[in-house]
Amino acid sequence: MTPLADMSLLASFALIFVSAAFTDNILLARFLGMCSCLGVSKKVDTSLGLGAAVIFVTACTSALNYLVYQYLLLPLGLDYLRLITFIVVIAAFTQLVEMIIERVSEKLYNSLGIFLPLITVNCAILGISLFMLNKPYSFLQAFAFGLGGGFGWFLAITLIGAIRERINEAALPRGLEGPGITLIIIGIMALGFIGFSGMIKI
């Protein structure tokens, strides 16, 4: 018996979203997606662009991977192949979306599409797809988990970007400039996010 079973659909949806975004923040609690975060979080606007791309891709791929897992891998008894299958699905999905965005809207492509190749292979996105399997989620709940996880990453990188914009103007010790100080910022923010832990247990 899971606690989620007796909740209304909307309530469980919201709860999963909040827990994925805050208590289980993929960047600050799980330390995934660090590479693109360090590289791109220099400015708020690029952080926003990449964050938005991540939200979109995690939400879609977690739903997609849920279907692949439930209706292909489990019936075939191949659930040990989930990691490699998810990687391929995510990569193909981002490539496809990039092509579609380029064709449909130049504006969307310039603000969002250019970041897609950057997250074709991104551990945060793969991580969300894998973690979701640890819980007995329904399809919609899996989607909510992906959306929440992506939002959490978006929130974290935007905050880091804003802090870095300010801190870049300060006189830093030479060895700490760039990635060094960013890792320290992320560490301190992670301590802050520990405050959320235990608030929601699902």
């Binding site: 590479c35 693109s36 360090l38 590289g39 791109v40 220099k42 690029t46 990449l50 250019i114 970041f115 190749p117 950057l118 006189a171 830093l172 030479r174 400039e177 760039g178 990635p179």
Partner: protein, 158 residues
């Protein structure tokens, strides 16, 4: 480390290209951000603001450019010669436009030390605080430039 498409293409444009045979980074392997941060740091240590160094460099550049290839004295012991050349070069920083070619070579008559100034180089210092990579012919080493231009006292001869 993953980079934004903009950073990546900037790094490509700073390398050897159809416009700059040697590129702007010389033999420097540091990322652009780090080069800029390190040079700004050096100037802070010397207590010379970028604007002051830039004004002195620009003044020397304009004096030499006005002499049409003749040698001019910038300050005692420092001469400048403009080497004219025609054509224009686009800035590696997109949106900055094109700049006239042609070098101004500053030479310390005592030590023979040289600095090579260009219109594009001065603009990159002004807009991006980018003094170019070590090993580039056009690198303006901030400490050396400040010393040659008399913004900081020279060390006593050994």
């Amino acid at each position: 480390m993953k980079e934004t498409p903009a950073d990546k293409s900037l790094e490509e444009r700073l390398g050897a290209s159809r416009f700059s045979g040697e590129g702007f980074l010389g033999t420097d392997h540091r990322p652009v951000d780090e080069i800029i941060a390190a040079d700004l740091h050096a100037l802070r240590e010397l207590d010379v603001p970028v604007s002051r160094l830039l004004a002195a460099l620009r003044d020397a550049f304009d004096k030499a450019r006005g002499a049409l290839g003749g040698e001019v004295d910038i300050r005692p012991g420092l001469t400048a010669v403009a080497h004219e050349s025609m054509g224009r070069i686009p800035s590696p920083f997109q949106g900055d436009g094109v700049f006239e070619k042609g070098d101004v070579v500053l030479t310390d008559s005592a030590t023979g030390e040289q600095l090579v100034l260009t219109a594009l180089g001065l603009s990159m210092i002004e807009k991006h605080h980018f003094f170019q990579g070590r090993g580039s012919r056009y690198r303006i080493e901030p400490a050396r430039a400040a010393r040659l231009l008399g913004l900081i006292p020279s060390p006593p001869p050994v």
